[in-house]
């Protein structure tokens, strides 16, 4: 536990600006997406306008989630990479436990923006005048945001934890797909790798499926 606290504190020092800004943005986004909904002159007839506004602002949630996951994962490993992991290697803990503690510490820090989104969404939903037929989904939105943040963090944590060789393999695989797609296009072959990858990654059971879908604080 003492080790976890020490790692958490060190990570907080490295990532506090990101966490604070992310928390503020997460808290403000729901209120901004419902701006004007609480105005007395809006009336109950602007359901369509309200949905359009909520949908437009909704695109920012997955972006914020991805940015938070990326930046926190990078800051988690950046000092270790800079110090060539000498400090980590001197610690009296197995390597796997050290990595697990780093991962858990990052996730703990990310709880702040997730809670901020939840609180902002609940507050915005309570204070807004929502037309009949529409409903607020603050908990569903916060849950989606939490999963997206954690997935983004886990993906970039794994990439950051890897060696330059691992990063090269991943980039090489992506480049191979692009090249094969280009060659197939030139050869007029019915091969659509990009769309297939898109389906595999973004739909159904895909790892990034939670990023797609409707990020709506208010919906029918």
């Amino acid at each position: 536990m003492a080790m976890f606290k020490a790692l958490l504190y060190s990570q907080w020092k490295w990532a506090r600006i990101i966490i604070v800004l992310g928390t503020l943005a997460g808290f403000a986004l729901p209120a901004l997406s419902l701006q004007g909904a609480a105005r007395a002159d809006r009336g109950a007839l602007q359901a369509q306008d309200l949905l359009h506004a909520v949908q437009s602002w909704g695109t920012l949630y997955p972006l914020l989630a991805a940015a938070l996951g990326l930046l926190v994962a990078i800051t988690t490993w950046a000092p270790d990479h800079r110090g060539r992991h000498v400090q980590a290697l001197t610690l009296p803990v197995p390597r796997w436990r050290y990595v697990l503690l780093r991962f858990a510490a990052g996730m703990t820090l990310l709880a702040a923006p997730i809670l901020a989104v939840l609180m902002g969404a609940v507050l915005a939903a309570v204070t807004a005048t929502i037309p009949a037929g529409l409903q607020a989904y603050p908990f569903a939105l916060a849950m989606r945001f939490a999963l997206a943040v954690l997935i983004a963090y886990a993906v970039f944590f794994a990439i950051s934890a890897g060696t330059a060789r691992t990063a090269g393999i991943i980039l090489g695989a992506i480049a191979t797909v692009v090249v094969v797609q280009l060659v197939a296009g030139i050869a007029n072959l019915q091969l659509d790798l990009v769309s297939t990858m898109q389906v595999v990654l973004l739909h159904g059971l895909g790892p990034l499926a939670v990023f797609t879908g409707r990020w709506m604080l208010v919906d029918v």
């Binding site: 991962f103 529409l134 997935i151 691992t166 499926a209 409707r214």
Partner: protein, 362 residues
């Protein structure tokens, strides 16, 4: 003596403009008759041309018969027979006994080679489709181009389009639900909240007088229509000033502008999708002869025609339609439990990748 002489003269002078008016009326009547004769001749020639074109399009073709459907087509790999077998139950369930009339109104379909650039004879009847359409697309084609006789003018105008079998009934009802929730009209909102009289108004089934006030009773709604739906239309010429006044919040200008619209141009609070779904409900309730009853008396009000077709009162019909629309509410945005499980699983997988990085291996 004086009076005996001048009185006929005076009457003659007074009557001369009336005589002139009679001449004008006669002249216009002659012109109208001439126009009617010309129109009748044009219709006859058009019918003849259409008949000849049909003869040309159907000669040397095969006829596929499934139920009362008749499809005249050229030999091709197009799966028309299988598609017709799939389409016929949907068509028959909508039109009922009237679907039997389709035996006299065949589809004319020309299947063409999509890869050929050879010039083909242009036909002005029927449809031309590539012969590599799959079964689903071919069935869609048959369902969306049912060669049923067009409805009478009042029904056609009320529907703002044709009546076709439902291809995605659930999605159609969901679209109606979304309209009920989001349409910027108090009539529609009242309908959503359960006021059947408002539903009847919003569907254009009740009193058609003062539609503007019935559909859009508040000043905010009228301003929204003018500024959003008709901004380009009104922001010209003489209408610029009242348009600006309307946008600035003067309701009398908004009302005057909307009243100046031609009949039928006022945006309906519920679109044709809602109306078509109501007609489908009426036909489903009314049984096999419902479509014939619907078309029986074009002079009757649409609401009464629908009630006759359905065999229930218009209030009951509309209430049932509304309940069905509310039951088709789209799925909420909440994540399903399995998606949460999948996401947690992926977090574990990626965390495992981080743990098993080659950097940590001894």
């Amino acid at each position: 003596m004086f009076r005996r002489f001048w009185l006929p003269l005076l009457l003659g002078v007074l009557a001369s403009p009336l005589r002139g008016q009679d001449t004008l009326v006669d002249r216009l009547r002659i012109r109208a008759d001439s126009l009617l004769r010309t129109w009748q001749q044009a219709v006859t020639i058009a019918n003849l041309a259409d008949s000849l074109e049909r003869e040309r399009a159907t000669s040397g073709r095969d006829t596929i018969a499934v139920g009362a459907l008749r499809i005249i087509t050229n030999p091709s790999p197009l799966p028309l027979r299988q598609a017709a077998a799939l389409a016929w139950p949907a068509i028959e369930s909508l039109y009922g006994s009237a679907a039997a009339d389709l035996a006299e109104r065949p589809y004319l379909i020309r299947a063409a080679d999509p890869d050929s650039s050879a010039r083909r004879v242009v036909l002005h009847v029927g449809v031309e489709v590539p012969w590599d359409l799959d079964l689903r697309a071919t069935t869609m084609l048959l369902l969306t181009t049912v060669p049923v006789a067009p409805p009478d003018r009042p029904l056609g105008e009320w529907l703002t389009g044709g009546l076709r079998p439902a291809i995605h009934p659930r999605e159609d009802r969901t679209a109606v639900y979304l309209e009920l929730v989001t349409a910027p009209s108090q009539a529609t909102r009242g309908c959503f909240l359960g006021d059947i009289a408002r539903c009847i108004d919003a569907l254009g089934l009740g009193d058609t007088a003062h539609l503007l006030e019935r559909w859009y009773p508040s000043a905010a709604e009228r301003r929204a229509i003018v500024s959003q739906s008709f901004a380009d239309f009104f922001n010209h010429g003489d209408n610029v000033q009242p348009f600006r006044e309307c946008v600035a919040g003067r309701d009398t200008s908004c009302t005057a502008l909307l009243r100046s619209l031609p009949p039928g141009a006022l945006p309906k609070p519920l679109t044709e999708a809602a109306r078509v779904s109501l007609v489908r409900d009426a036909l489903r309730l009314g049984g096999r002869d419902a479509y014939r009853r619907l078309l029986r008396d074009p002079e009757t009000a649409i609401g009464d025609r629908l009630a006759q077709a359905a065999g229930v009162g218009v209030d009951s019909l509309v209430a049932g339609w509304r309940n069905a629309a509310l039951a088709a509410r789209p799925a909420p945005v909440a994540l399903p439990w399995w998606a949460i499980g999948v996401a947690v699983g992926w977090v574990t997988v990626f965390a495992g990748c981080g743990l098993s990085s080659s950097r940590w291996r001894a």
